[in-house]
């Protein structure tokens, strides 16, 4: 197991380098001359040339990459022209909103998607199986932004049960004292019940939309895994040994199914991060996805690449965490 752990952790390093190279290249080929922007509209050609030299834009690409990298280590992700602040600051300020939405959606997806997939496989061709297949096939084809708009139309406009998509708290509501940055958790911990209620009310619809969009592929994969497990030799041997159905299906089979499902969570997280951007846009949720999109709208393309870098790095570490947990849980890896 130690070998597996070490190998897996070491693998992160070249991957992170790769991620930074990609975002560097993307930043590099951005249209426009950053020196021009920094020098200002009244700059003379000499000023611009001077600025270029100072920013190192006349250096070979490799050197510029080095500067980029050292900047990253110092936490320099550029500046946002829209907010006037360092991008890193903006991102950090907005991460809790995205985190809250992502975690809520993950909860929904796991709590509904996994049982649905399992039962669909166990009662194959039953009505739940047909539902799961419908969800799986249909959900995968639905564009998330459209699902969000549809949900808004039905629950906000038509039924009036959902709040207007104006952010994380209802209008006029004061936020609870900031501990984690997650409004629901903070409100719960400080017992600000009204804030908790409002935060939940705002969170429900976007979390359901995002969660549902991710649930579709998850249910498909869980169902496929469970079906495979149910067909395996050791399950057949368990039947032959007279073990009761409950033990075989919801004991042995389920345990064996859940282990590969752990690796699925990494994939699901990737879908979540991608879907986040769109859902935040639809519901005006003040997270990092919305930040990146808004920045791009105002021709401020720097933040987008920093956003891509941020997501890339997070994704790498999430996958690492998933792999490490998997290595621990599966006895085939834990014990040589």
């Amino acid at each position: 197991m130690l070998g597996y752990f070490v190998k897996r952790v070491l693998l992160v390093i070249p991957t992170l380098f790769g991620v930074t190279i990609v975002t560097f290249v993307l930043t590099y080929i951005l249209p426009g001359n950053p020196a021009l922007v920094k020098a200002g509209p009244l700059a003379t050609p000499q000023h611009i040339a001077e600025m270029e030299r100072r920013m190192g834009l006349d250096q070979p690409m490799v050197v510029q990459y080095g500067r980029y990298l050292s900047g990253l280590f110092r936490g320099d992700l550029g500046e946002s022209h829209a907010t006037g602040r360092p991008v890193l600051e903006d991102l950090i300020q907005r991460v809790p909103a995205t985190l809250e939405l992502t975690l809520a959606a993950l909860l929904v997806a796991l709590a509904v998607g996994i049982p649905l997939g399992v039962v669909a496989a166990v009662r194959r061709d039953g009505w739940l199986d047909h539902v799961s297949r419908l969800v799986g096939v249909g959900g995968v084809a639905m564009p998330t932004f459209w699902t969000g708009l549809l949900a808004l139309y039905v629950f906000f406009y038509a039924l009036g049960v959902a709040p207007p998509p104006l952010g994380r708290l209802g209008t006029g509501m004061t936020p609870p004292p900031r501990i984690t940055g997650l409004l629901t958790v903070d409100a719960l911990m400080t017992m600000h019940w009204r804030a908790l209620g409002s935060a939940l009310h705002q969170l429900v619809l976007p979390a359901l939309v995002l969660g549902f969009s991710v649930m579709a592929p998850l249910t498909r994969m869980v169902r496929a895994t469970m079906l495979e497990v149910l067909e395996s030799d050791y399950i057949k041997a368990a039947w032959a040994a007279g073990l009761p159905r409950r033990t075989i299906v919801y004991g042995d089979a389920l345990r064996n199914c859940m282990i590969p499902v752990i690796t699925l969570i990494g994939v699901v997280f990737g879908f979540l991060m991608a879907g986040n951007v769109v859902v935040e846009s639809v519901f005006s949720w003040p997270g990092i996805g919305n930040y990146a999109v808004a920045a791009m709208m105002s021709k401020d393309s720097g933040p987008i690449q920093s956003f891509v870098l941020f997501v890339g790095v997070v994704y790498v570490f999430v996958n690492l965490a998933v792999d490490l947990v998997y290595g621990f849980v599966d006895p085939r890896i834990r014990l040589h």
């Binding site: 790769g18 990609v22 249909g138 084809a141 639905m142 564009p143 998330t144 708009l149 769109v278 791009m296």
Partner: protein, 298 residues
């Protein structure tokens, strides 16, 4: 008495391919959904190609007298703020979406196949390098990477195609490389007899027919993803921009009208996306059942 011969399928390539087509038809016709899906794709493709001829309205011509009309007999899917017929616009937008998806898939397939073939054939450091490149592409969620590329390159149709194509290269790269490695193993047994170039020719001669089934399946499924990606990119403003109509952009236009109750503007472009992607997925699944049963259930 003659000894009876076995009733097993012959191992020639030709008979298998013929019966694969027949099997595909049998599988499709047995499952109504697949048939409908096939039909939808056909209809969409036909409409896209024949749009100028079929559609009665000009997608771009404003008609202020009939702005924001709900679906009616005159305008089956209603009109937008400028009085433009939505149905016509959706069909025209379909051309863009399909074209982008097709182009992106074709480019990704070619590039990925090349990379995968070279990587698998040569092995060694080249293989390692190319695989690292593919790993790096896959280190990002694909939509996020597409966002970055689209933002860096700009909003033209070409750039969106490139952005999507790049994120799809790993799919085909890994697939072809896997097949190449498998073929290489098999061929080494016979390679003792062959020399130099003939070996290469044999490998490529065997590679292409073997790759066809899984590649076709993946490409069909990837078409769906490509459409979803270009629509989502356009929705957030990073993709196709007006005046070119595109399903995602049209949905974005309709977003603002939810609060005032004009539901048809956002709804129908989304339905178009969903129906098309669903159809590609169903056909892809049916193809997979027929062509590559060992991938079943995934």
């Amino acid at each position: 008495m003659d000894s009876s011969t076995l009733e097993y399928a012959s191992t020639d390539a030709a008979p298998v391919r013929r019966s694969a087509a027949a099997l595909l038809w049998r599988r499709l016709s047995r499952n109504v959904m697949s048939l409908v899906a096939f039909g939808v794709i056909g209809a969409v493709a036909l409409a896209a190609v024949g749009a100028p001829v079929i559609m009665p309205y000009d997608p771009d011509a404003p008609d202020a007298d009939h702005a924001l009309e709900a679906p009616s007999l005159r305008h089956w899917l209603g009109t937008d703020l400028y009085g433009r017929d939505q149905l016509t616009r959706i069909v025209y937008a379909g051309r863009v979406d399909l074209l982008v998806a097709l182009a992106a898939t074709a480019i990704a397939l070619s590039l990925g196949a090349l990379l995968g073939a070279v990587s698998g054939y040569r092995g060694g450091w080249l293989d390692q390098l190319l695989m690292r490149v593919i790993d790096t592409i896959q280190a990002f969620p694909s939509f996020i990477l597409a966002m970055g590329i689209a933002a860096a390159l700009g909003n033209s149709v070409t750039n969106i195609v490139i952005a999507i194509a790049i994120t799809h290269v790993p799919i085909y790269g890994r697939l072809i490389r896997g097949e190449m490695l498998r073929i290489r193993e098999m061929e080494y047994a016979e390679a003792a007899r062959t020399v130099g170039n003939r070996q290469r020719r044999i490998i490529f001669h065997h590679l292409l027919p073997n790759c066809f089934p899984p590649v076709i399946v993946q490409a069909t499924l990837a078409m769906g993803f490509a459409i979803l990606t270009v629509a989502a990119l356009s929705y957030i403003g990073l993709g196709i921009r007006p005046p070119t109509s595109e399903w995602g952009a049209m949905t974005a236009e309709g977003a603002g009208y939810i609060v005032s109750g004009e539901w048809w503007i956002f709804l129908f472009p989304g339905v178009a996306i969903m129906a098309t992607v669903l159809s590609f997925n169903l056909v892809g699944d049916a193809l997979r059942d027929v062509l590559d049963p060992r991938m079943k259930g995934v």
